[in-house]
Symmetry: C2
């Protein structure tokens, strides 16, 4: 029987070890280095890195290779940079994140802007620095850099955040809300799975199935986040509760009600699992992560 | 006789054409796209792209190749992103840039943060998207991405900006000031020349000479910027004058006086030219750009 907790703990600790090793390298600014470490070691779930590694596992690739762990770290750096910038006063103005003061509260706004910039840049550096000595071809690296930059950029995550801010206070249609979610959260979750698939040399059919899986769990994840913002326990989630309602943000539960939102998330996870029907038991980690996404408390 | 104005105009128009083509591609957020175009078409000197292309010319490479122009565009995107973020209220709080309202004034702070993020990400995307069809090997691309990310990151440009902000109001030693300049401005100028050298397959000796050239003009450029901040004509520079003094910033002229600062800049350009002594007349563009840096009005 597959033990999800053990799997998550193992993968998280592997990723964290490489992350901290990278961040503790030589620095030209002690303040930037310290703030980067502060933000990156605040105890996130490491969902995106783990999805990348689980996709590699599903394809019988080597999820413990240095290249795999570095790609996983790059994903977490991009995710964390986006949180730091989204938390800024000019954006979502959040004070708490992952159970700690947000970066601009713990340091200051200028530092938070620069630390976000630094983590985004470092993500690409970590990939490019693997260079010739690594267990990965340059053309594969370029494809992964392309995948991550597309997901993170103005046709992905950044567009999602812009639309999200622009629609504060407005009642969105379900269609528009799903577009925002697909861009803001979905794009990087899909890229995490896609990067794993590229590393493990997935066939076109396997890649398509994995992307269908990713698209469905991406939306389910965001819906469950909406529900946690209403019913979550801040001491467990590490984030304030009720902030969406306070900002009059359209969310899945605000548009269709909590019960229908839960049903939708469950449907999405079912569809995600269906996309994996051709995969053997090595895709159990992906399956269990999909189930976990709607059962989680944080 | 080499015509610098014609050279600068020609290279700038080639770069601008590719830049606008890239930025006018499909967008997921009209606002981000519009603001990116606003910031990127405000009429900068395109110094970094032109230095990259001039380095290629000096090495008898193909500075008109699509790959060269895309690398040049990536450099300008990184430079422009850094200006947008540096101009933010939490950082330098500048209202005017390149003769226009800065991004956060023309749009708003959230948009300016996201547009900076988007341009930084796009720089790497533009490089990675060249992919297999282009006139460039994947391993060369990875080396260029590595060079740019190192220069832009927390051991380069970002550390420079952090130190610059942290030292506002303090009287720096000349040594510390030079460190700030080397990181804040020098790193990306060096990377521009280095990227050109990588594209044109420079020998180690050629690369070292070009990097010496770059290091010297990088510092000369920043000193001349300090002088323009005192004696420049805002209608020509497109920036406010006297802002350094207002912020009590240590600058080269504030520490040693204007005349000694001018002498220093001239010395640096002489040393830069000396580093090119082994190059033939194809390096005339680099030579003339070096002279132009201390004679410029903007």
């Amino acid at each position: 029987m597959f033990d999800l907790s053990a799997y998550l703990l193992d993968r998280k600790s592997r990723v964290d070890e490489v992350l901290v090793h990278i961040l503790q390298g030589p620095a030209a600014s002690d303040r930037v280095k310290e703030a980067m470490l502060y933000c990156m070691t605040a105890g996130g779930k490491r969902l995106r890195p783990i999805l990348c590694l689980a996709a590699i596992d599903a394809l019988a690739g080597d999820s413990q290779a240095d290249s795999a762990l570095r790609v996983a770290c790059a994903l977490e750096m991009i995710h964390t940079y986006s949180l730091i910038h989204d938390d800024l006063p000019a954006m979502d103005n959040d004070q708490m994140r992952r159970g700690r003061k947000t970066c601009h509260i713990a340091y200051d706004e200028a530092t938070a802007i620069l630390v976000g910039d630094a983590l985004l840049t470092l993500a690409f550096q970590v990939l490019a620095e693997m260079g010739p000595q690594a267990d990965i071809q340059a053309s594969t690296l370029v494809e992964i850099i392309r995948t991550l930059s597309l997901a993170a950029g103005s046709r992905g995550m950044i567009a999602g955040q812009m639309l999200d801010i622009a629609s504060e206070g407005a009642r969105l249609s379900l269609e528009t809300l799903e577009k925002v979610y697909r861009l803001k959260t979905g794009a990087l979750i899909e890229a995490s799975i896609q990067a794993g698939a590229i590393l493990a040399k997935a066939s076109d059919d396997q890649l398509n199935r994995l992307l269908t899986f990713a698209r469905n769990i991406g939306l389910a994840f965001q819906i469950s986040d909406d529900i946690l913002n209403i019913k979550g326990d801040p001491s467990v989630t590490g984030k304030s509760t009720g902030t969406d309602a306070l900002r009059q943000k359209s969310t899945y539960p605000s548009l269709v009600g909590i019960e229908k939102a839960k049903d939708k998330a469950k449907d999405l996870v079912d569809q995600a699992l269906q996309a994996l029907s051709g995969f053997d038991k090595r895709s159990d980690p992906l399956r269990e992560i999909a189930n976990f996404i709607i059962d989680r408390k944080r």
